[in-house]
């Protein structure tokens, strides 16, 4: 147990005991979810190839109640761990986070069908010669991946950037099972890379890297939803934290290019660019961004045509969707409306613009551009009518490397509200 003890702050015996308890709960909750999910036949699992068959037979079918209880236990243990993070050693933190991520990696895809859309788009381009920016997976009805794509997305062309699509193309040629493992490995590596960069940025800025690692790497939504669903948001955060690390090293042009690279995975991260430019007020980040953009436009246009570089169209399309967990939808219910109306979308956009303008002004007057970027990403997820749990992860790595701790508190509060919103099946089970 000595390995859990930080050198500079030897914890009291009860602190040590609580840390061990929290660690055991984190591991047990993750194992419970993964092993139960490996039994299959759960509404929490998308239909998928049985790549996890070797884990079957240990758990029981994953139901809502067990999943939610495990998620709440995970969240409680997470809160305890970050509350006691000063007493955690580097080695303990790294081993814990690695164990959580590896457990999820070897299990089935959790909660979301998105990864099968990623594979379908890759197979459309590689196996069928069909442009995924102009066609939905419905164009490859006979392909073995088709039956795994979420029903809502069968007719929807890809909303992801051309860099991500090109990155996924090699996986489109190795069969569905190989591609699925490839996507899971990609998400795991992106998560590990993001955590390493978060560690580095925290240390450069004089923050406790162990706390930063635990806040992001042991976060329940990061582990269960982000990594569990093998979401490409983790690749986006990798480029995002790459931009922050490069900027902290004084390399503004590559930092801006990294933001553009992230944008070409998922467009949301473009929100960092104006803050980066305003904070530095130099030509270098502008030139870096323009060079990366020009290169991407040429490659994107050459491979995918005009639709491959029209990221705004995809953003506008997805912005019109409404998910039951979005805060605008909850607010609409609070005021007695059945849901979000088009006029609400306009109001939300106007509110977001005001927030961004205020943050730009603050950045111009010396506020930390990284914090301003984090607030913007958080504001985007809160005002979005299409909120999914992994969207609340965007601001998290930024929040642990800034002095303004309100950002971290707000990000964790939003995540907590998301989890609270899920617990109805525990209070009144349906059966």
């Amino acid at each position: 147990m000595d390995s859990a003890v930080g050198d500079s702050h030897p914890p009291a015996r009860w602190t040590r005991a609580l840390l061990v308890l929290a660690t055991l709960v984190l591991l047990a909750a993750t194992l419970e979810i993964v092993l139960d999910a490996a039994v299959g036949h759960s509404a929490l699992l998308p239909d998928q190839p049985r790549i996890y068959g070797w884990l079957g037979g240990i758990g029981e079918r994953l139901g809502y109640r067990v999943f939610l209880i495990a998620l709440i236990a995970f969240t409680g243990a997470y809160a305890l761990t970050i509350g006691l993070a000063r007493g955690v050693s580097k080695r303990w933190a790294i081993v814990l986070v690695a164990a959580l991520q590896l457990i999820v990696f070897v299990g089935p895809v959790l909660i979301s069908t998105d990864v099968f859309s990623y594979i379908a788009y890759a197979r459309m381009g590689v196996e069928h010669g069909i442009n995924p920016y102009t066609n939905g997976p419905i164009a490859i009805v006979g392909d073995p991946i088709y039956k795994y794509v979420g029903h809502d997305w069968l007719r929807v062309a890809t909303a992801y950037g051309p860099l991500y699509t090109l990155l996924s193309y090699p996986l489109g040629a190795i069969g569905v099972t190989g591609a699925l493992w490839g996507m899971k490995a990609e998400a795991l590596l992106a998560s590990a890379g993001t955590l390493a960069l978060t560690w580095r940025c925290a240390r450069i800025r004089g923050f406790d890297p162990v706390l930063a690692l635990l806040v992001v790497g042991a976060n329940p939504l990061w582990v269960i939803y982000g990594l569990g669903g093998a979401h490409n948001d983790l690749i986006m955060t990798l480029f995002m934290m790459g931009a922050v690390a490069l900027s902290l090293a004084g390399r503004d042009a590559p930092a801006a290019a990294s933001v553009i690279a992230g944008t070409l995975v998922k467009a949301t991260v473009a929100a960092l660019l104006p803050f980066l430019i305003l904070a530095h007020r130099k030509l270098a980040p502008i030139l870096g961004a323009l060079a990366a953009l020009a290169f991407a436009a040429v490659v994107g246009y050459a491979v995918f045509g005009i639709h491959g570089i029209d990221l705004l169209a995809a953003l506008n399309r997805d912005a019109a969707f409404v998910s039951t967990d979005s805060f605008p939808n909850e607010l609409a219910h609070l005021v007695g409306k059945p849901g979000v109306f088009p006029v609400d979308h306009d109001l939300l956009k106007a509110g977001l613009v005001l927030i961004v303008l205020y943050l730009l002004w603050r950045t111009w007057r010396g506020y930390d551009w990284v914090a301003a970027s984090g607030w913007t990403l958080l504001a985007i997820s809160v005002t979005s009518t299409w909120l999914l749990p992994w969207y609340t992860l965007w601001s998290l790595p930024l929040a642990v490397v800034v002095r303004d701790r309100r950002l971290l508190a707000a990000t964790l509060a939003i995540q907590a509200l998301y989890i609270v919103h899920q617990v109805a099946p525990i209070l009144v089970p349906v059966g």
Binding site: D152, G339, V340, R365
Partner: protein
């Protein structure tokens, strides 16, 4: 005097004095002034108010969901008692948009996989009494079809054929859908199983 002030607050020499033409309050800065804390107070107050609003909305939605779950349980129990079949796979569809208490509960009339047999759908409305709800009408459905008017037959009770069953009902439902789209009704996705949601 102004030069002295500029050097004190560190703003005048920013970017080699490139921004000197701007009034002080418009010039960029490398770091923020300490200030009196009033702005921070305003920001924190706004954040707390926004957080409280979101928390109230979340809890309100959670309570609504528990009420819905309670109603679904009553619907399932009612369907099983009404039909005398203790089947597990019985589907419920609630009037989420209209915010009425009208639910449609469908299940097979003979044992078999979901929707693989003739289905009986019951129309339930009103409050929950002793864990059950009142059945006001219903219809039958052919096997392997969705519950849409064109596939319904043998409507009974308040489920009048012109409103709920057959081609006439299908035509009026299509007209109502078109009118609803014209009125920009709320679009909602992701209501199904969580595994379906994404992006």
């Amino acid at each position: 005097m102004s030069d002295v002030a500029s050097k004190i607050d560190g703003a005048g020499e920013i970017d080699g004095g490139r921004w000197k033409f701007l009034p002080e309050w418009l010039r960029p800065r490398d770091s923020e002034l300490a200030g009196t804390g009033r702005r921070r107070l305003v920001e924190v107050t706004l954040l707390i108010l926004a957080g409280l609003l979101l928390a109230v909305a979340t809890v309100n939605d959670l309570i609504e969901q528990t009420h819905v779950n309670h109603r679904i349980n009553a619907d399932l129990l009612t369907w099983r008692e009404y039909t005398g079949h203790d089947y597990k796979n019985v589907s419920t569809e609630q009037d989420l948009y209209g915010h009425t208490t009208r639910d449609v509960v469908c299940g097979n009339t003979t044992p078999g996989p979901p929707k693989e047999r003739v289905q009986l759908c019951l129309l339930m409305t009103g409050p929950i009494v002793d864990g059950r709800r009142a059945v006001h009408g219903g219809w039958y459905l052919r096997p392997k079809v969705e519950d849409v008017p064109i596939y319904r037959y043998a409507c009974f009770g308040t489920a009048t054929p012109t409103r709920f069953c057959g081609k006439a009902a299908a035509a009026s439902a299509a007209a109502a859908d078109a009118a609803e789209r014209g009125e920009s009704a709320p679009a909602e996705r992701g209501e199904g199983a969580p595994a379906e949601a994404g992006r």
